[in-house]
């Protein structure tokens, strides 16, 4: 599939962190399809309005986004790649606005809450919640008021013609979001980032017996296969039953991993291979 013929759905507006993720995974030639919600983004791929989507799956401060795991499994889409985007918050205003004159800063409340140190150091500035970060920049730039700014990505400043008055105002510098490139299993889409290794992501459901997870991990230990993620998730309405998200290093086409997965199928009540994909992480 040639990049400039690819349409990519993402959640948020132009300038959202999701758009940065799309650029990292697929480069700048693709056609973007911004979607209001995660559900809309998966619907766009299902209805062939988009060839693929790029979905946030976990954040280093906020954890896994279970809702997107659910949508991914329900949709039957496969993982074709992944990337990490560092979340950097910037104070953005119309050109000629100075920080000293700013009295109101607009952004998504999650972004505002990640910049408390900045607001404590600037007690004259009010934090005003909005639906999303990039949309706040767009609105501030439309109004062009001398006392207003927004908090969003540097990319949003670029898109809407804003000036960055203060950069990296987030409290915690180690704030990363991991995104997955998802498409139909028949797709030939490939990430443009250079790959360092392959990863395979699995979802499995195990019966409720003592030691069952220990034995399941034994399937990987037997072949010296490295794990890069494991997470249990209670299954709603079935107390004491768990689903597990497991990422391992390797491609499903390699014999040891194929064998490990086949052994795992013997003990799991349910097993989904969500994809084998190249990664630089």
């Amino acid at each position: 599939m040639i990049a400039d013929q690819v349409t990519v759905a993402f959640q948020g507006e132009y300038g959202a962190f999701s758009e940065s993720a799309v650029r990292r995974i697929l480069g700048t030639e693709v056609t973007l399809r911004p979607c209001e919600t995660f559900d809309d983004m998966f619907d766009a791929v299902r209805s062939s309005d988009a060839d693929c989507c790029v979905a946030p799956i976990e954040n280093s401060l906020a954890g896994s986004i279970h809702r997107n795991y659910d949508l991914m499994i329900d949709s039957g889409l496969r993982i074709f790649g992944e990337t990490n985007v560092k979340i950097v918050h910037n104070v953005i205003a119309a050109p000629a606005v100075t920080l000293a004159n700013v009295r109101r800063i607009y952004s998504h409340p999650v972004a505002l809450a990640q910049c408390l140190r900045f607001f404590r150091a600037n007690p004259d500035i009010e934090a005003i919640p909005t639906h999303d970060t990039a949309g706040a920049v767009r609105e501030v730039l439309l109004r062009q008021r001398p006392d207003e700014a927004a908090i969003a990505s540097a990319r949003a400043a670029e898109i809407y013609g804003g000036t960055i008055l203060a950069s990296s105002v987030e409290d915690h510098q180690q704030n990363f979001t991991r995104f997955l490139l998802l498409a139909a299993g028949t797709s030939d889409i490939q990430p443009v980032e250079p790959a360092r290794r392959w990863k395979t992501s699995l979802m499995l459901r195990l019966p409720d017996k003592p030691g069952v997870l220990f034995r399941a991990l034994g399937a990987f230990a037997l072949f010296d296969i490295d794990l890069s993620k494991i997470e249990s998730r209670p299954i709603e309405g079935r107390p004491w039953e768990y689903a597990f998200y497991i990422d391992v290093i390797g491609n499903r086409t390699e014999a040891p991993l194929e064998r490990a997965i086949s052994n795992l199928e013997q003990m799991a009540e349910e097993l989904h291979v969500l994809g084998s994909y190249p990664t630089r992480w």
Copy 2:
């Protein structure tokens, strides 16, 4: 410690879901200390302004709140109990307001995003973001306008004298948040909910060797100890090293669990017992 002498810090305003969690864990006699941020809530306990705090640690749709794990470990506080609160969103307005007249609904954007079906069914109503759910109810009730409502918990309606115009408007009914009761290790605080079993929560860091997690779980399998949660978390700045959150069934004072933890200490680079606590979950 007698309940009516206990001061409990929680994040949010009166009527927040965190307040419901406090009521479930500690009953209605305690003194509440609402805090603007999670950091403020931990500070309140550190400075003895509060005896304990009740912190959300994971949500069934949004995953683990890593930030509160970090604050818990940095604070040295221990877990004394846990509860699950079902997140139910209600449309709340001043008495005499009817849903047919409502044109604007205020709430935290995460809550608004969890009620998309309601907004699609009511296209004349605008969703307006605010800092928090309970605060939106307070403001709507202050203004008493016939065309405004808020989305929040039933408890917020009760506190601010609002009427529920529509209940359970959330898209996904299986939306639970797990909260932990945290206090200094020397505290004698106890949850009021009847206990069904004991749980012990651990955080451990393992060296980067193949199969290391498999062997670590062997420490529990050896004594037939059941896991109720496991989650890996990459350690920032140290690629390929992981921290693990593990919850097991049992009290640390029981010999098999004590032995398993002591075996685990031999192989872990770091191990924190975050608490053994009674639970009905």
